[in-house]
Symmetry: C2
Subunit: 337 residues, 2 copies
């Protein structure tokens, strides 16, 4: 088949609407599975899980599984259960992340750990994680189990790696890319790849969808990390400046630090060590980041990965699924503005 080149269009008002419209029927089924399978005889479990799950979120990862299945004209319904499993893995990592980061906000609401306590957030995360494997076992594909159990281990490695790199200004861009590739992109890649498995397509298709998801995931996290210095909490749904106060070494910091003079580097060392965490310090950090174009260059890096995501699905036939997947990449990048 002839591949059409789809260049990323900066400035174009992209949205997730086409993807949401494409998978709306399937997503209703996935939501039913999610609601059904987060139940338990222990009331605190659906209560806490429901706070986060019913609390919204784009459900981007399960949506990717559904949209990739649509791209392959998959006619069955196995992907509903598996998309729910993907969302459960994601929800479990969010719950544990918030405990790890001591977050105050998540998806524009008070973080679950603050309302229900860290112990409950850890344990309900464990429950959802176990439940996701039960869903995969019900589906019965060892290949899917392999993909998602491996992705889960890689996510945990990425999170530990991020913890180790915290406050370490020696973290290189390469190291940072390794961290976000593991903690974020691995699940995007797996969510897309399993669509090829249920549609029983060959390994070239699996790998193309994996590449699409992985590059989209990297772009998505790059933009997320840029937004933390360029937006307010209403847009972000999480507390702005959280990364700054946590001493998280993200690309805007890596670039601004590398490009800064002696005084600026001194400021970053103090700030990332946790000795400059006031609102004025955050404002100063944002100013330095802007001075060195570290936000726009982070977005440029995201655009690079976004283009690679789009190129990965070039071989697939044009149609609403492909268009939706392309626009999802544009959305992941454009939402920064």
């Amino acid at each position: 088949m002839a591949a059409t080149i789809h260049p990323l269009k900066p400035g174009h008002a992209a949205s997730l609407e086409p993807m949401m419209a494409l998978v709306a029927g399937d997503m209703n089924r996935v939501n039913s599975v999610i609601l059904d399978r987060m139940q338990s005889d222990i009331p605190l479990i659906p209560e806490l899980a429901g706070h986060l799950i019913a609390g919204g979120g784009k459900r981007l990862r399960p949506m990717l599984t559904l949209a990739c299945a649509a791209l392959l004209d998959y006619p069955g319904d196995r992907h509903h259960k598996l998309a729910a499993a993907v969302e459960f893995i994601h929800t479990a990592t969010l719950l544990h992340d918030d405990v790890v980061d001591g977050s105050d906000m998540r998806r524009g609401k008070t973080a679950a750990n603050l309302i229900f306590g860290n112990p409950a957030a850890v344990l309900v995360g464990d429950f959802l994680f176990s439940r996701s494997f039960e869903l995969m076992v019900e589906d019965g594909s060892l290949k899917v189990l392999k993909i998602l159990s491996h992705a889960s281990a890689v996510i945990a490695e990425g999170e530990v790696d991020q913890l180790t790199a915290q406050r370490q200004l020696a973290t290189s861009e390469e190291h940072y890319l390794g961290i976000i590739g593991a903690k974020t992109a691995a699940l995007f890649a797996a969510a897309c790849r399993i669509a090829a498995v249920v549609a029983e397509r060959d390994s070239a298709v699996e790998e193309a969808l994996d590449r699409y998801g992985r590059n989209l995931g990297v772009a998505f996290q790059l933009v997320d990390d840029a937004i933390d210095y360029a937006s307010d909490s209403e847009v972000m749904g999480k507390g702005v400046g959280d990364d700054f106060r946590d001493g998280k070494i993200t690309l805007p910091v890596i670039l601004a630090f590398a490009r800064g003079d002696g005084d600026e580097q001194h400021f970053w060392r103090e700030a990332m060590a946790g000795r400059r965490v006031s609102d004025a310090d955050l404002a100063h950090a944002t100013k330095l980041i802007e001075r060195h174009d570290a936000i726009s260059d982070s977005i440029a890096r995201a655009r690079h990965y976004g283009q690679r995501a789009i190129d990965a699905i070039a071989p697939f036939p044009a149609g609403p699924a492909k268009s939706a997947l392309i626009e999802a990449v544009e959305f992941a990048i454009d939402r920064a503005y």
Copy 2:
């Protein structure tokens, strides 16, 4: 085959030695898998996991998989990887438990969360949990995956249930038994049951081994909870009185509260609410527990479940494996003295 009745022998100096001798060769293989598969490019992962895993512990759960496989004359080696998976699930729950409880000690050493911090303990637990599923996927049995993913979900439910019951003196003995059945006995049962799966025995054998493990697990936890009021930290390998200070409602407390007069019940309400947590309060609690025979009656309850564990394997032929499994039950109960 003729079933021989093995009554539990109180006072007999039981040990785990026969079981350890029975599975010594297999256990070396399991330990190799454990050491090999807790590795990661992220150094903090093997460092933290190694603190807990190399730090000892009886490895009772994987030993049960091996001993049950020996009982069935299983000639293969699939159980090595699966026993390691069982130990990884157990280790992950220990790491998360210590975060949940804010523990100071584990296996006679400083708890991992105190040395490495709660965030690392949560995330390395997640890694080991994911790794356990990768091991199961490598083995390739959907039946084993179903048993252990379900057990993991039940464990998490049991832990959340325990959290909900914390400080609630209205917790009944039945509720308490439900909690320990889920948080402890479910993994004992699964560890034993999977031996029947790899040995390709019928469901009656699976269920007999499940019953053995489940009843042993309940007995084990009953004794553990009794020891917390009857021993010092050297015997226990964890801080004595932890349950008391955490307001954990275990059987000794349930019995002493139910049998106590008004003053005593008032004391328990204050203590479990966290308003009486001094050493003198703990000494008073221990005195009340002794006054009402709540330790010896907890051990009597454990003996009841221990006898049921032994009866569950009555149909299997006599031999070193069966003897070792029986003595493991006696050990689980006798170690209280």
